[in-house]
Symmetry: C2
Subunit: 174 residues, 2 copies
Amino acid sequence: MDITAVNSLHYEDFVSVFGNVVEKCPIVAAAVCSQRPFNSLNSLEAAISEFIDALPQSGKEGILRCHPDLAGRDLQRGTLTKESNEEQARAGLDALESTEASRMAQLNQQYKTKFGFPFVICARMNDKDRILQQLSERCGNEVELERERGIEEVKKICSLRLHGLVNTEARNKL
Amino acid sequence: MDITAVNSLHYEDFVSVFGNVVEKCPIVAAAVCSQRPFNSLNSLEAAISEFIDALPQSGKEGILRCHPDLAGRDLQRGTLTKESNEEQARAGLDALESTEASRMAQLNQQYKTKFGFPFVICARMNDKDRILQQLSERCGNEVELERERGIEEVKKICSLRLHGLVNTEARNKL
């Protein structure tokens, strides 16, 4: 689908296609869809980013709390969204050794207890070792910084999901 | 579950239990959960209402666009949320006569084409005749009024869903 096709979708189809570019937050796509037509995928991405930035702090934390733990109970139970499942598998999180799995679970818990929201990182831009290292480091940050860092990661995840849905190659536009 | 139990839920369980009190918008419950402890169900409901009111206009429209049509394709395909399915069935929307179904589909389409978001009404406070009458009347309103009316209905739906989840009878608190 190219941006012209995106612009001509009925709002219901727009929300259906883009509803999970921000994990479990279809309100985000649903909010920006009336800003169409977008000139480019970058414009759509910018609109989403602005919507998120304009949310109150509680709303940003709300977005973070809609995210699953990495290598957590949703992965174990098979209840991840399709997108999260693919991203966690690609980072090797579905095949952790038992010591890695224990360490991840312990650090996830420590992070959530300290901040009241889960550790969010763009799994597709990291592998399991880097994710464990980041999780460990970020447990030491202040809550304000982590809220910002988490939202930055949400935007990276969103960007990759958008690029998976919308074709930006001019020669493939037909 | 009474309000004390609500206040002691881990945030993940809070989001899991209350994630659909606003249809397909778990961000709302996830945003207010850090305001706990709530004194009462009314306090929780007020926090949700304030969060919705503080959203930009696009966010309010986003909430409306996360709602399914009444007697629409999600009902036909069996893809309604559990809550919506029960509410639509209770209002008799799963057993419309063919003339009623045609009228509903035509008016829903007219409403969406005019406003760019779906007609939202608290089905549990109305029956199918009243819903058709309201839908027909509200098609004639201005968009600003309908955005407000829709959000009022979202709050009514939310209130009934909350009361279905949280016990407010003092004698049943144990």
